[in-house]
């Protein structure tokens, strides 16, 4: 799915070779400041690299329209971004941003999605009144609604307490597995990485070293 060769972002990253497989869940771990988030942002072209090549499905991402790429490779930010408006507005904004049709989505569908993430909120409630953890769950529901082939998650559990984290991740990966999605996730929690991923990449090992990651 993603193929990286000699990718350099001065002075943070220097990756000789790295491969992310399709329909797999890969976790990226490593010390803070080791460039985990940077690596993630390279994959949806949110930042550029100084050197090397990154391919998505065999295509060089620097030749692709970055906005179209981000609509296929949707990223969840570390801190949930909540927009002015209701819970419903916030659920639909991902689809609106990616210029997809929202008319065909019924309120019942949105309601079920909220329930799935244990959010017992009304659709017309002001989203800003939600707690930090609830906002993160809303953000998860939002990207599920977008239904892209690839997800990038940046520290998805950092806004959640341990118990909720487990439950939310459980629900999310249930959806991922039954829908055959690809996930690349950055996490500081080895526990989360071990529990949910097919593969674990330690960024401190791949930086500056030639390594194709297949263990896990």
């Amino acid at each position: 799915m993603f193929q990286l060769k000699d990718v350099k972002v001065d002075p943070i990253l220097n990756i000789k070779a790295l491969h992310f497989e399709q329909r797999r869940i890969t976790s990226i771990i490593g010390k803070s400041g080791s460039g985990k988030s940077t690596l993630l942002k390279l994959l949806n072209h949110l930042i550029s690299y100084d050197n090397g090549i990154i391919q998505y499905n065999g295509q060089d991402i620097s030749t692709m329209d970055p906005i179209q790429l981000r609509r296929e490779v949707v990223m969840l930010s570390q801190t949930p971004s909540i927009y002015d408006g209701t819970v419903k507005d916030n659920l639909l904004i991902g689809l609106k941003f990616s210029e997809k049709d929202t008319d065909s989505i019924h309120d019942q569908q949105l309601h079920d999605l909220l329930e799935k993430f244990d959010l017992h909120k009304k659709l017309d409630e002001n989203a800003d009144d939600l707690s930090g953890g609830e906002k993160q769950r809303l953000a998860f529901a939002r990207i599920i609604l977008m239904d892209p082939p690839v997800y990038l998650l940046d520290e998805p559990t950092s806004a959640l307490d341990d118990e909720t984290a487990d439950e939310v991740m459980e629900r999310f990966f249930q959806f991922i597995k039954s829908n055959q999605k690809t996930v690349i996730m950055v996490t500081h929690s080895l526990k989360v990485a071990e529990k949910f991923s097919d593969k674990i990449v330690d960024i401190t090992n791949i930086n500056d070293k030639e390594m194709s990651v297949t263990h896990g």
Partner: protein, 261 residues
Amino acid sequence: MDSIQDITLVQLFTSYIFILILIAIVKWLGIRREKEILIASFRMSIQLALVGYLLTYVFENPNPFITVFIILFMQAFAVYNVYNRVKTKISTELKKIIAFALFLGTTLSMLYFDFIVIQFTPWYDPRYFIPIAGMIIGNSMTGITLGISTLMDGMHSKRQYIESSLMLGATPKEASRFIVRQSFDAAILPTVNSMVGTGIVFLPGMMTGVILSGADPMIAIKYQIVILLGITASVSLSILLLLQLGYKTFYNNKAQLKKTT
């Protein structure tokens, strides 16, 4: 109609006495602003005295070149003033857009309100052209300063928020929409508020001047309406040009937020 009563030099100096008393009180209270008030009063007096001589000459010798030159000078000075009044460093790209927006926005508004609405003759008559230009350019300058400050501040402080939107596949335009809207509000609100309060809370300076000079209040009011609409049009047009072009300077051609320096 009576013509306006002159103010003698003695009377003029009497007005400074009031300010001197005020300065004494400010000093006595230890507010430490006596210097600022003194310098500002002095500067204003010198500036206006010079403008008085200049306007007297220009009004007595109407000339299209001089009129156009003065307008261009005012626009250039307004652009320079915006650069100085914005606290943070403005990128060269954005500076060009500010100059373009202010110049085009004010020029189009002046052309419309001077030549289609008021239609004074000759077209370059400095008695009309210069004061109207002053009001339109001055207000647009204030609007642009407020708008650009809000835009730059928002693009900086809401960086994470904007990136989150880009991560969901938003175009730069969509991702910055809320900041563009905020900036427009910040720029246009003073003008809107002044329209709402006009006539009830205060009489605008321009109208006061026309009434004092002995004109019929109805004529003064008609001028005032035209001017306020002209100001609104010019502020809106300038700020729209600025924002529609300006937000783009914060992104590169890969739809990424540029690094802040």
